[in-house]
Amino acid sequence: MAAFDVIGFTLQYELSYSNILYMLDLAGIPLQAAQRSEKDPLIIAGGPCTYNPEPLADFLDAVVLGEGEEVIVEIAELLRKLKQAGAPRREKLAALAGLPGVYVPSFYQVEYAAADQTLSFVRPVKPGIPERITKRIVQNYEAAPFPVCPPVPFIDIVQDRIALEIQRGCTRGCRFCQAGMVYRPVRERSPEKIKQLMDANICSTGYAEITLSSLSSADHSCIAELAADSIAQYGASGVTISLPSLRADAFSVALAEKMESSGRKSSLTFAPEAGTQRLRDVINKGVREEDLIDAVESATAAGWRSFKLYFMIGLPTETEEDLEAIGALARIVLSKARAAVSAAGAKGKNSVVTVTVSASTFVPKANTPFQWRPQDPIATIRQKQDLLRRVVRGRGIDFQWHDPETSFLEAVFARGDRRLGAVLEKAWRSGCKFDGWNEYFDFDLWQRAFAECGIDPTFYANRQRDYQEVLPWNHLSAGVDRSYLISEDQKAGQAALTEDCRTGECLGCGVCQTLDTQPSISKAVDTP
């Protein structure tokens, strides 16, 4: 690995950071960017967590913000030229910093206020380095390259299918959702292009399953025709088409039914996220109880018997009433599904309905309207989980929850600054790795690492931040205006909804102006 000129890491999840150090170490590459010599590869990162890469600033030579299709070619061409010219590492980094969307952390200086330990400033150390880096997007999504000949493994891997991206971005505007903010604007691939890519992928891989992936595939304006056409074309050769996630409404269920025309239906998952309408309005999750009931009733009629409901706890403004409502909602879903089952005359095993409630913990993320909000302390989350265990119960109802420590660590790194680099290295040196896996996660080791570095992790996770505070990622932009994020956060306080920009009216999030682009929708439709 160390023989490569450049190594790229995807920052998919904060709890994978220790593994990046682990991999660098296994490859014999110095962990700290400053310690790497001319013979060492350049370590570049991309992916969703680059919207706050600061905890990794010590270890990364460069970070790419946004979509890679074009910038990756620019980086490769630039570095090839510099390598041929025998340019030193420092010169390569300076050249990289000149590319739009590329952030070289070592060219920025940070300073903290003695009084409250918050950031005083982040600024370039020399002229010619941009003060602010804005993410890249491909100029023409429709024409952007998409892999049509991916490697096909012999063994049965996780996600052993073709994942065909049918659209990028999401216009739903859920206020907790980082993907919904940072992948804007929404752009659809045309049905013609999708069919062409589907065909090329099946012919090159021979896979028997395709998932039409995106943040919210049922929102694609041509999804119904696309589903019908693909099934007509490939169903006869044993190829199944699937969607990665479902919106909670009857339209989505009808779509899933068309795709999963099997006799035995697996379970259906919906994500109401919160128990009361008030709290769903706070987070701008446009799901109404009627939609969910509709979806469950149509799904039951179509043969589904098992439902999973995803919720998040610790959301801003959450009260006991919101948590109790999760139990009530699960019971309503169960009783509506049972009524639909008996109306259909189902008997025996086929009449048993199960509802699984899964509650994850809210993690505030950079570049979202909730980036200033505190995460609930671990003890509070534990109390809320206790309460849920009392109210989400009964025959046919199952409750699942997550370790609050994992979500806490995620929250620390999601909005951390460069001082966390020392903690990360210490934790890794004391044995932390695979933190996303329960059997490896050792919170005690992490706590010791924080203590030894003299850092209070609750400063990052549990503190309400001021709009005026210099955030560690202030110099990194996903194109969405800070003022829009503030207004969304304030609307959350009033439980006021924000429309979907698919319906036509611009909400002024700023992404199209900043990136000189616009949403691209194949067909104008009324969004359900």
């Binding site: 090159s204 021979g206 028997a208 050769s237 006799g263």
Partner: protein, 264 residues
């Protein structure tokens, strides 16, 4: 090579009466013989089936589908091979709904198989039994490292003792726990030769649905004497053609099979 015993041992009985797999004339059976070599040895039987199915789908061949809600290609394979073994006898039947010209079709399949797998032979089978009904024997060549606990002569004497006995029960581990099987009834013929530090064994074993002896089980008495298999290769699969043994394409064996491994 010293032939110790060439007499037919207790067999699995005659093949079932001929039954056509394709029930209607609209189906055409293409029988293929594949080779697993080099890294292909590490493709398990299930993975081999999936890799082959993907090859067929890449080529968009007119393969018949199973009935039901989850239609699958109608492809059937012969008996499984242990992981790590090489083989020049991985047979499969493809049930087609059309009859593309044979040589062009075979050329196309051969060209699109993934690395580690290759096509040795193939032909339309018009009045045959299914592979599972037909196959009763498998031939293997094993290269056993002799080891320090027994001499080559002692290992050969052990082999001789197995073949001369009426029964040879051994314990073997199955998915359901330890089970005693009779090795003798599964060994039709066997011969041994010493080559340097290795004992080369050619085994003609019961295979298929009626009686089946896994080659790794046939080796248990030798492994308990310190011998270690360096290489296991399946050379052929056979069934009855009248009174004779024949391969799945109907080629009759006039004498018991000489094991040939490509590259030797």
């Amino acid at each position: 090579m010293t032939t110790l015993n060439t007499a037919n041992a207790v067999g699995a009985g005659d093949a079932a009466t001929v039954t056509a797999t394709a029930t209607a004339n609209t189906f055409h059976i293409l029988r293929l013989r594949l080779q697993k070599k080099e890294h292909g040895r590490f493709i398990s039987h299930l993975d081999l089936m999936r890799a082959f199915e993907r090859t067929v789908r890449r080529l968009q061949l007119p393969v018949a589908l199973t009935e039901g809600f989850h239609p699958h290609y109608r492809i059937s394979f012969g008996p499984a091979l242990p992981l790590g073994a090489s083989s020049s006898a991985e047979y499969c039947d493809l049930i087609l709904t059309a009859r593309p010209e044979q040589s062009a079709l075979l050329e196309k399949i051969g060209r699109h198989l993934p690395p580690g797998l290759s096509l040795i032979d193939g032909s339309y089978i018009d009045n045959g039994q299914s592979l599972s009904d037909f196959i009763m024997r498998a031939s293997y060549r094993v290269r056993l490292a002799i080891g320090d606990f027994a001499t080559a002569e002692e290992l050969i004497a052990l082999g001789k003792r197995i073949l001369e006995s009426e029964q040879f029960p051994i314990e073997t581990e199955t998915r359901k726990g330890l089970r005693t099987i009779d090795l003798r009834s599964g060994i039709d013929q066997a011969q041994w030769a010493v080559s340097g530090e290795e004992l080369i064994c050619d085994l003609f074993l019961a295979a298929g649905s009626a009686n089946n002896l896994k080659p790794q089980d046939a080796l248990i008495p030798f492994i308990r004497k310190g011998a270690a298999p360096n290489e296991l290769h399946r050379a052929g699969l056979y069934g009855k053609s009248g009174q004779n043994w024949a391969d799945p394409f109907g080629n009759v064996l006039l004498k018991w099979p000489e094991v040939k491994i490509e590259g030797e």
